[in-house]
């Protein structure tokens, strides 16, 4: 086991309002690992992903992501190394796909040319001037993946990784995931279709706890 795992959760619990989402969750994610996260609807997969993305604080237990203790101000220093592609697009509907990616590039301190190049790499070279609210779900998903190419994260979190994507786009998802793990990062892919996941191992959420899938 690596001395510096990318994600380390120890008996983590998470309660939102009166709902207990996670309890005693344990998980370790090493550099170069690609892990599938499975579970039925409403089991807490997205919530777990958002907690690993440092966007939610655990209500019990402890955890570290990229060396930062969850729930502390240290997470501010590692957030720029995390990309989460959720099942709802993190795009501004009124802006074009190009404007959305350039917004990300500017705030991430990356060259603007990289924004257009990344759109081309996900097959959206000709759609840069199309507004997000006039784009198909698949195009929005690809534009979201372009964000991962701009930021080059150490931790990539993909919620519903293959949902609504054609075969070419699924190949793009897998290529980007390979790039991240190839650079020493790690990837978590949430999916309802475990057969389509090409991962090192999978875990599933069962009654708020994480169990390895054989």
């Amino acid at each position: 086991m690596n001395a510096n795992p990318i994600v380390s959760l120890e008996n983590v619990g998470l309660r939102i309002g009166n709902t207990l989402i996670l309890r005693h969750a344990k998980m370790t994610l090493e550099p170069g690992e690609k892990v599938g996260l499975l579970g039925p609807n409403g089991s807490g997969k997205t919530t777990l992903l958002r907690m690993i993305a440092t966007l939610l604080r655990p209500t019990s237990g402890s955890g570290e992501v990229l060396g930062a203790e969850l729930g502390t101000d240290a997470v501010y220093d590692v957030r720029h190394r995390i990309v989460m592609v959720g099942h709802l697009p993190g795009l501004y509907p009124e802006l074009t796909l190009g404007e959305n990616t350039r917004f990300v590039a500017r705030l991430a301190g990356r060259p603007l040319e990289l924004a257009d190049e990344s759109l081309a790499m996900v097959g959206l070279a000709g759609a840069s001037e199309r507004r997000a609210d006039q784009s198909s779900k698949g195009m929005l998903r690809r534009a979201e993946l372009a964000r991962a190419l701009i930021i080059e994260p150490t931790l990539l979190l993909l919620d519903e990784a293959h949902a609504g994507l054609d075969a070419e786009a699924i190949g793009i998802v897998d290529d980007i995931a390979e790039r991240v793990v190839g650079a020493g990062g790690a990837v978590i892919l949430v999916s309802h279709e475990p057969d389509r996941l090409t991962v090192d191992r999978s875990v599933q959420i069962v009654d708020g706890t994480l169990e390895a899938v054989s």
């Binding site: 939102i16 309002g17 958002r50 993305a53 966007l55 939610l56 604080r57 501010y76 957030r79 720029h80 995390i82 990309v83 989460m84 959720g86 709802l88 697009p89 993190g90 795009l91 501004y92 009124e94 802006l95 404007e99 917004f103 990300v104 500017r106 705030l107 991430a108 301190g109 507004r131 964000r147």
Partner: protein, 222 residues
């Protein structure tokens, strides 16, 4: 990336979104103007009365319809967009400041758009009008600050737009008082400095509170 560069990018994005929808220019401003037009119809064409009431009515319309501007702004950032900005490592204070600047500019635009309607229908005494170059931005900044704070509070509570007017209207009363009294001071030839100080103090207090609360409010969102 520097703090002010982050502020610039957030404000630029918000204004770009507004330029696409043009909601303030095409919907809120005409609606506000319509309200100013309807009031003389309701109270009659008593010219001296309209001249006396005009400035006060103008500020009430700015306050009430300015809330629509604020609500529009708070709708720009949904959950996924907020997550995006947080993961990009944007300083919460920079995000607050950028959003406030964008909202304040929109409220200022709204104030300016209503100005000709006020002059045409109410014929107000515009003695000392150059002071409006100070009063209008001070009120717009106050409204922008209130809107951004209210947006943060309602988002963190999960109540969103329904609570925003209830938060904004009471807190905007000092702005309304300062603006109307400063305007009246100009007409009567009295000193308006105390009212300008009030507006400035309200803006300063809101700015400090908003910046200090921006981080905790952002992290409280589930």
């Amino acid at each position: 990336m520097t703090f002010w560069r982050q502020v610039y990018e957030i404000a630029r994005k918000d204004l770009l979104v507004e330029s696409r929808t043009a909601e303030v220019a095409l919907m809120t401003a005409p609606f506000g103007a319509a309200a100013l037009i309807m009031i003389p119809l309701a109270i009659g064409t008593d010219a001296p009365l309209l001249t006396d009431l005009g400035p006060g009515l103008y500020w009430i319309v700015v306050l009430l319809f300015g809330i629509l501007v604020i609500l529009r702004k708070s709708a720009v950032d949904g959950g996924p967009q907020r997550d995006l900005v947080r993961l990009l490592g944007i300083d919460p204070a920079a995000r607050f400041t950028g959003a406030t600047i964008a909202t304040s500019l929109l409220v200022l635009l709204f104030e300016v758009a209503l100005g000709p309607v006020l002059v045409a229908l109410y014929n107000p005494d515009l003695r000392g009008w150059p002071w409006l170059f100070l009063i209008l931005p001070l009120v717009a900044i106050g409204m922008g600050l209130l809107g951004t704070i209210a947006s943060g509070v309602t988002t963190s509570l999960g109540t969103r737009t329904s609570l925003t007017p209830l938060l904004v209207v009471p807190l905007a009363l000092p702005l309304l008082l300062g603006a109307t009294q400063a305007f009246e001071g100009l007409q009567l030839g009295g000193s308006i400095v105390p009212w300008l100080v009030l507006l400035f103090a309200v803006d300063l207090a809101l700015a400090v509170s908003g910046i200090l609360a921006s981080g905790p409010l952002e992290e409280a969102v589930t």
